[in-house]
C-alpha cells in the first residue's frame, strides 16, 4: 500500500469524528447534542470546585465565585452551555480577572488528554479564554506546539509550559488581548 497520501481521505476519518458525550437532566445521551436543561445543574447544590455532576463525565468547576464552567471529562472540553454563555456575556467586563486566574493552581476535577494530572483552575482559565478569544498559541506564547497525539486537541507541551510559566502566560495573554482590542 502506498504510504503517503497528498489529499484528504474521507474514508479514513469516517470513524474519527469527535465523540462528545453530552448529558441531559435525565442523563440520557441524545445524538451527541447538548441538551442541558435549565434545572439540570443546580449550582447551589454544587458549589464546590470540581464536583462531579451525577454519574456522568461532566464536572462543574467554579473558577472564582461568580465564574463557573462545565467541563466534559470525556471530550476534554468546556461545554457550550448556559454557564459558558453567561461567561461569554460578561467576558469583556471580567477579562482582566479571568486572565489573572491563570496563576491559580487550585486542583480541579477536570481531566484532559495529553496530560496525566488533573487540570488546575489556571489551566481551565487559559482554556476558557482560548475558547472565547481563540488564542493562536504560537503568536501569543512564541512556542511551536505542532504535535497532536491520538486526536487530542491540546498539543504536546502546552500544559507543561502553562504550569511552568504561569505568570508569563498571564502577561502574554493579557498583552495579546489588549493588542487586539
Amino acid at each position: 500500500m502506498k504510504g503517503l497520501i497528498f489529499a484528504c481521505a474521507l474514508v479514513l476519518f469516517s470513524y474519527c469524528s469527535s465523540r462528545e458525550l453530552k448529558v441531559s437532566k435525565d442523563s440520557d445521551y441524545i445524538d451527541g447534542e447538548i441538551r442541558l436543561k435549565e434545572d439540570s445543574l443546580n449550582l447551589n447544590a454544587m458549589n464546590q470546585k470540581g464536583m462531579e455532576s451525577g454519574k456522568d463525565s461532566i464536572v462543574l468547576v467554579q473558577l472564582v465565585e461568580d465564574i463557573s464552567i462545565n467541563w466534559n471529562n470525556q471530550s476534554y472540553s468546556i461545554m457550550e452551555d448556559e454557564l459558558f454563555s453567561s461567561v461569554v456575556a460578561v467576558f469583556s467586563k471580567k477579562q482582566k480577572r479571568i486572565i489573572a486566574l491563570i496563576s491559580d493552581t487550585t486542583i480541579s476535577e477536570a481531566k484532559a488528554c495529553s496530560i496525566d494530572r488533573n487540570l488546575l483552575v489556571g489551566d481551565l482559565a487559559f482554556l476558557l479564554i482560548n475558547k472565547i478569544k481563540k488564542l493562536p498559541y504560537f503568536e501569543v506564547l512564541g512556542v511551536q506546539w505542532d504535535f497532536l497525539e491520538d486526536n487530542c486537541k491540546y498539543p504536546f507541551g502546552l500544559f507543561d509550559y502553562i504550569n511552568n510559566y504561569r505568570n508569563e502566560v498571564e502577561k502574554k495573554v493579557e498583552f495579546y488581548l489588549i493588542s487586539k482590542e
Binding site: M1, K2, G3, L4, I5, F6, A7, C8, A9, L10, L12, F13, C16, S17, S18, K134, P136, Y137, F138, E139, G142, V143, Q144, W145, D146, F147, L148, E149, D150, N151, K153, P155, F156, G157, D160, Y161
Partner: protein, 242 residues
C-alpha cells in the same frame, strides 16, 4: 557556503523529481523501487540523499500519512479541522507555527502552511539566536518525517528531537549550514546540543546495504594509482581494464 552541497544539477534535480509521482487515483504516491531510488540520488549530497530516503521510506511504508498543503488564506478540509481544531491556514500558522502533525491510526495527518509567516525564534546562529520563517519543504520534513514517520517507527523521540533533527537535515540539504534549530521554542522546549540537533534520526539513515547500491553517475576522474609494493605508478587509462 559550500556550493557542492547547495547546487543540484538540473539533470539530477529531474531524476529526483521523477522519483515522486502520483498513482492513477491522483491522490496516493506511487511506490518507489530500490533501483530507481539509488539511481536518482546518486549524484546528490549525503544530506540530500538522507532526506530523499526519508520520503522514500514514508512513501513505501504500509502506514498511511496524509498531507494537506494550504495557504494562509485557505480553509482547511473537514478532516483537517476535525483532527486539529484549526479552520484555516492562518489558524495553523498562528497557532502551531507553520505546520501541525497529528497521529491517526497507524499513520499521521500533516498540515503544512505553504506561505508561513510564523517567525520561529530558536535558530542558533553563532553564539546567538535568529528567527526565520519556515519554507513548505522545511515544514514538511519536520512535521511528516520528524513527527509523523518518527511516531510510526516507534521512536521515543518523535515528539521533539526527531522533528528538530529533520528541520536541520532539510536546512543542510539546502546548503544552509550557518544556522540550526536547537528546539528551545518547540514542543517540550528541551534545548538540544548542536551534535544532537544536527544528528540524523535513525529511521532516515540510509542502510548500508542500500548505500552500497548508490553509485555516482557520469564520468569519474581517475587519478594515477601508486602501488604500495614497489611504488609503481599506474596510469588512469589502465585502471579498470580487465
Amino acid at each position: 557556503m559550500n556550493t557542492d552541497t547547495l547546487l543540484i544539477k538540473v539533470s539530477d534535480e529531474e531524476d529526483l523529481r521523477n522519483l515522486f509521482s502520483l498513482d492513477s487515483n491522483g491522490v496516493t504516491m506511487q511506490s518507489i523501487g530500490k533501483e530507481a531510488f539509488t539511481s536518482a540520488v546518486a549524484n546528490l549530497s549525503a544530506e540530500q540523499q538522507q532526506l530523499a530516503y526519508g520520503y522514500y521510506g514514508a512513501i513505501n511504508s504500509s502506514d498511511v500519512h496524509t498531507v494537506e498543503m494550504v495557504n494562509r488564506s485557505e480553509s482547511l478540509s473537514a478532516n483537517g479541522v476535525r483532527l486539529t481544531g484549526y479552520t484555516t491556514g492562518a489558524g495553523v500558522d498562528g497557532g502551531a507555527g507553520g505546520g501541525v502533525n497529528g497521529s491517526f491510526g497507524s499513520g499521521s495527518y500533516t498540515i503544512v502552511v505553504m506561505n508561513s509567516t510564523a517567525s520561529i525564534p530558536d535558530y542558533r546562529s553563532g553564539d546567538g539566536y535568529t528567527s526565520r520563517n519556515s519554507s513548505a519543504g522545511e515544514l514538511l520534513a519536520h512535521e511528516l518525517l520528524g513527527h509523523g514517520v518518527g511516531r510510526t517507527k516507534g521512536m521515543s523521540t518523535y515528539r521533539h528531537e526527531d522533528a528538530i533533527q529533520m528541520t536541520n537535515l532539510y536546512l543542510r540539504a539546502q546548503g544552509i549550514t550557518n544556522v540550526y534549530r536547537d528546539g528551545r521554542s518547540h514542543g517540550s522546549r528541551v534545548v538540544l546540543s548542536k551534535s544532537t540537533a544536527t544528528s540524523i534520526p535513525s529511521f532516515v539513515q540510509i542502510p548500508i546495504t542500500l548505500q552500497m547500491n548508490i553509485r555516482r553517475k557520469g564520468p569519474i576522474e581517475l587519478k594515477p594509482y601508486i602501488m604500495h609494493q614497489d611504488n609503481t605508478r599506474v596510469d588512469p587509462s589502465y585502471l579498470g581494464r580487465p
